[in-house]
Amino acid sequence: MTVLACVALPLLAPSLITALHRWPNPREAVTLLTAGGLFLLVYSLHDNVLQGARPAIDLAEPLPGLTIGFEVEPLGMLFALLASFLWMVTSVYSIGYLRSHHEWRQTSYYSYFAVALGSTMGIAFAGNLFTLFIFYELLTLSTYPLVTHAGDDAARESGRMYLGYLLGTSVILLLLALVWTWSLTGTLDFRTGGILEGVVPPGIAGILLVLFIFGIGKAAVMPFHLWLPAAMVAPTPVSALLHAVAVVKAGVFTVLKVVIYIFGIDFLAAVPATQWLMYIAAATILLAALVALRQDNLKLRLAWSTISQLSYIVLCALLLTSSGIVGGALHIVMHAFAKITLFLCAGAILVTTHKSRISEMRGIGRSMPWTMAAFTVGALSMIGIPPTGGFISKWYILLGAIDARQLIAVGVIIVSTLLNAAYFLPVVYTAFFHSPESNPEYTHQETHGEAPLTILLAITVTALGTVVLFFFPDLPLELALQLAGESG
C-alpha cells in the first residue's frame, strides 16, 4: 500500500494545488507538505527493502498478460529516495526563485512538477518494463509544460526538440524493443538474471540492446543527446531537479534495469554488441566533456557535463561487473547531489545578478561567497576529489572497469576526470580570484548581495549532502551492493 501511496500522492497533489491557485502561501504549503510526506513514505520503505523484502502491488491489466504493477527493489528504492529528497529541497528553492523572478503560471508550474515527481516514483517502483514505459512517457509529457514554461518562441522551439527526441526515441526504438521482447518471451517482468537468456540468440539480443540503449533517449547517449541542452530554457529549478535528477536519471535508471533484469549481465557478456555500445558511451563521455569546455553559458556547460556524466552510468552498466553496477548505482546519487548543487547555484546567480555567462561572473565569489562555496563543493564532487561523494562513485566505477579488464574504459574515465577539472575549476577561479572590476560591463551601481534565503537554504542542504555522502555513504552503498548481489 505504501508503494501505491508513493506514486499516488504526488499525482493527486495537483488537484489541491489548482484549487488553491488564488492563495499562493497555502498553495506552496501543499507542495512542501506533499514533498515532505512523500519522502517520509519512501523512507519508511527502505528498512524492509534492506532486509530483503520486495513490497509489490498490481493495479490493472491493460492488455492480457501485461500488468501495471509496482515492486520495490534496491535500485528503485535508491532512486526514489534520491528523487523524493531532492524534490523537498527544490520545492523550497522554487518558492524563492519563482517569487523573486515574478514568474507567471506558478500554479501550473507546481502542478506539473508534482505530476513529474509522481511519474518518477512510478518509474522507480515499476514492477515490470511495461509499467516503467508508461511512466517514462508520462514523465516526458508532464515535463513538457515545465520546459516550455516561458511560453515564448525559444521555449516552443526547445519544446519541439524535447518532445521530438524523447518521444521519438521512445516510440520508435524503445516501444519496438518492448513489443519485440514481449512477442519473443511473452513477459516483460523484471527477473533476476533476465528474461532473454535461452530464448533469444545473441545476434537478436544485440539488436534489442541497441534498440533499448538508444531508445532510452533520457539517458542522452550520443547521438540522441541534443534535447538536453535545448531543455535548458526551462526555469532553473526545473533544470536542476528534472534535468539533473528526475528525467535524466530516469533514463540511466532504465538502462540499468534493462541490463540487469531484462538481459542479465551474464547473458550480455556473450552479446558482441555490448562492447560497441560501451565504446559509444565512452565516446559520449569524452565528446560531451569537450563541448562543455567551450560553453560560456553556465547552464549550458552544466547540461553538457550532464550528458557526459550520464554516459558514465551507461558505461558502468555495460561493463557487466558487479563493481561496475555498484559504481553506476552510486553515481546516480552522487552525481545528482553535485549537479543539483551546481544548477541551484547557477539559478541563484541568475536571480540575484541576472548573469548567465561565465565570462560575466568575475569576482562574483566576493559578493556571493556562500553560493560560490557551495558551487565549489559541487565542482569538486564532479571531478571526484575527496571529501565529496563523487570520489566514492568514481572509485567503484574505476574498480568496475579494472575488473572488466577494459583498459579503454579506465583511460576514458581518467581523461574525462581531467576534462571535468578543466571545465569546472576555471569557473571557481573566475568567481573568486578575478576582481569584479575586470568585468567588461562593470558599473559601480552593482550592489547585489547574496541570493534570497530560501535559495541559500536549498543550496546549503545539497552541498552539505554532497560532503556527508562521502563520510556516510552507508545507505546508498548498502542498496547498491544488494543490487549487485542480486544481479550475480
Binding site: 514505459f133 512517457e137 509529457l141 516550455t148 521555449a155 516552443r156 521519438g168 520508435i172 513489443v179
Partner: protein, 493 residues
C-alpha cells in the same frame, strides 16, 4: 418476443422515426425525436451485444421466410461490435448536434438533417446486421444517399461540390458492388451470404467469381476510402457540418471495413481471398502507402478538419494493414483499431466542431491562443490527439501495441517500424495545433470567444474518458475483438 426481434428492430426503429422528423416542423421536436431514437438504438445495441456475447451468433428470418429464400439477419460477435460502435457514436453526437446544427444550418433544413441522419444510421446498422448480399447493397445505398445529402448541408458552398464528388465516387463504388453481387448470383443462384459461402468453393476457380471478387474489393475500397481511392474523403469531411463529420468519420468508413471483412472471410473465404487471389499483398502495399502518404499530407494542412480527414485515411491504412497480415492476431488488431479509432476520431472532430461553433473557422492560424479561451475543448483535443499518437494509457496505445506485435509475429518487422514512425508523424500534425493554441499570442483583431456549451463538451469528454478507460483496462474490448476475429477467420489455417 421483443427480444427475439432485436436484430430487425435495430434497423426498423430508426427507419420509422426518420420520416417522423421530417413531419415535425419544430426543430426542437425533430431533434428530440432523433435524440430519443438514437438512445433507443443504443439500448437495443447493448442488449443485442449481450445476447450475442452469451448465446453466440443470432439468426433472424425476416417475415419468417426460411433461408436462403427469405432475407436473413445475422449478428455474430464482429457484427455486434460494429452495431455497438455505430450506436454509441450515434447516441453521443445527437445531444451535441443541437447547438452545432442550430449554428451551422438554416432553420428550414434542420428537419431534413435529422431525417437524413436517422436514415444514414438505419443504413449503417442494416449493413452490419444483414446476412443477405443484396440487402446489404440496399442498406449501403440508403446510408450513402443520405450521407450525400448530409454533406451537402454544410454551410460553405464548397460543400455542394464535395458532396457531388462523393456522389460520383460513391456511385461508382456502389455499382461495382452491385455488379459483383450480380455475378455471384449468376453463378450460385443465391444471395444469402452463408449460403454463398457454402456454394462458392465449388465454383471458385472460374473467371466470373474472380471478376466478382475484384469488383467487390474495388467497390468497397472506394466506400472505406482506401488509398488511392480516398480522394472524396478529405473534401467531404472538411465541408460537411461538424456533427456529420464526427459521425461519419467514426462509422461510415468503419462499416466499409466491416463489409470488406465479411466478403473476404465469410463469403469468399480465407483461402480464396488470401491464397488464390493474393489480396493480402495488395492490401498491405496500399495500406503502407496510405499510412505514409496521408500522414505526410496531414502534416501540411492548415485546416484542422482537413488535417484530421487525411489522418483518417492514414488510420484506415492501419486497420487494413492489420487485416492484410491475414493472421488472427492481425485481424483482431485491425478490429481493435477500428473500434478505438472510432472513439478517437469522433472525440477529435467533436472538439473541432466546438471550435468551429465559437470561432467560425478551423484554420490553425485562427486558433492562436485559443487554449486560454476554450480550455476544456482544447484539453479534449490534446487528450484525443495523444490517443491518436498512441501514448500509453490511451486506447490508441493499445491498438498500436497489438498492431506492432501482430506485424512482428508475422515476421514483417519493417511494418512494425513503419507503424511506429508514422505515429511520430501524428505527433507532428497534432502538435502544430497544440503549439498554435497554447503558445501563440492571439492576433490583436481576434475577438474573444467563450467556452463551448456543456451539451457539446460532455459528449467529447465521454469519448475521451472511454479512450482512457480502454487504455487502462482493455480486457473486455480485446476479448470482443479477438472473438470477432475468431468468427471471421475461423476457417483459417
Amino acid at each position: 418476443m421483443l427480444l427475439s426481434n432485436l436484430p430487425a428492430l435495430q434497423v426498423i426503429i430508426p427507419l420509422v422515426s426518420a420520416p417522423l422528423c421530417m413531419l415535425l416542423r419544430n426543430p426542437r421536436h425533430a431533434w428530440a425525436c432523433a435524440l430519443f431514437t438514437s438512445w433507443l438504438v443504443l439500448g437495443m445495441a447493448v442488449m443485442l451485444a449481450q445476447r450475442v456475447y452469451t448465446a453466440g451468433t443470432l439468426s433472424y428470418a425476416i417475415g419468417a421466410w426460411a433461408t436462403p429464400w427469405g432475407i436473413e439477419y445475422r449478428v455474430d460477435m464482429a457484427g455486434a461490435l460494429m452495431v455497438l460502435v455505430i450506436a454509441i457514436i450515434g447516441a453521443l453526437v445527437m445531444p451535441y448536434a443541437w447547438h452545432s446544427i442550430q449554428e451551422e444550418l438554416h432553420k428550414k433544413q434542420t428537419g431534413l438533417f435529422y431525417t437524413c441522419y436517422l436514415l444514414c444510421l438505419t443504413g449503417l446498422l442494416g449493413i452490419v446486421v444483414t446476412g443477405d448480399a443484396f440487402n446489404l447493397f440496399v442498406f449501403l445505398e440508403i446510408s450513402s444517399l443520405s450521407s450525400y445529402v448530409l454533406i451537402s448541408l454544410g454551410s460553405k458552398r464548397r460543400a455542394l461540390t464535395a458532396a457531388y464528388q462523393y456522389l460520383v465516387m460513391g456511385t461508382i463504388g456502389a455499382t461495382f458492388i452491385l455488379i459483383s453481387i450480380g455475378l455471384l448470383y449468376m453463378i450460385t443462384g443465391t444471395l444469402n451470404m452463408a449460403d454463398l459461402a457454402q456454394r462458392l468453393p465449388d465454383v471458385a476457380d472460374t473467371r466470373t467469381i474472380r471478376v466478382a471478387f475484384a469488383f467487390m474489393t474495388v467497390g468497397v475500397s472506394i466506400k472505406l476510402a482506401l488509398f488511392p481511392l480516398h480522394i472524396w474523403l478529405p473534401n467531404a469531411y472538411t465541408f460537411a457540418p461538424s456533427v456529420v463529420t464526427a459521425f461519419m468519420a467514426a462509422t461510415a468508413t468503419k462499416v466499409g471495413v466491416y463489409v470488406l471483412l465479411r466478403f473476404f472471410f465469410t463469403v469468399f473465404g480465407f483461402h480464396f481471398s488470401f491464397v488464390a487471389m493474393h489480396v493480402g499483398e495488395i492490401l498491405m502495399l496500399l495500406a503502407v502507402a496510405a499510412i505514409l502518404v496521408a500522414s505526410l499530407v496531414a502534416v501540411f494542412q492548415d485546416n484542422v478538419k482537413r488535417m484530421l480527414a487525411y489522418s483518417s485515411v492514414a488510420q484506415i491504412g492501419y486497420i487494413i494493414l492489420g487485416i492484410s497480415l491475414a493472421s488472427a492476431a492481425g485481424v483482431s488488431a485491425g478490429m481493435l483499431h477500428l473500434f478505438n479509432h472510432a472513439l478517437i476520431k469522433c472525440a477529435l472532430f467533436l472538439a473541432i466542431g466546438s471550435i468551429y461553433l465559437r470561432l467560425g473557422s478551423v484554420e490553425i492560424h485562427n486558433m492562436h491562443g485559443l487554449a486560454r479561451q476554450m480550455p476544456w475543448t482544447m484539453a479534449a483535443f490534446v487528450a484525443g490527439g495523444l490517443s491518436l499518437i498512441g501514448i500509453p494509457l490511451t486506447a490508441g496505445f493499445i491498438s498500436k501495441w497489438y498492431l506492432v506485435s501482430a506485424a512482428l509475429t508475422a515476421g514483417y518487422w519493417p511494418l512494425a517500424v513503419l507503424v511506429l514512425v508514422s505515429s511520430l508523424l501524428a505527433l507532428i500534425y497534432i502538435w502544430r495545433v497544440v503549439e498554435a493554441a497554447y503558445f501563440h499570442v492571439p492576433a490583436a483583431d481576434m475577438h474573444r470567444v467563450r467556452e463551448a456549451p456543456a451539451s457539446m463538451l460532455i459528449p467529447a469528454w465521454l469519448l475521451i474518458g472511454a479512450n482512457i478507460y480502454i487504455g487502462i483496462d482493455a480486457g473486455l474490448i480485446i476479448n470482443i475483438a479477438q472473438q470477432g476475429a475468431a468468427v471471421l477467420v475461423g476457417q483459417m489455417p
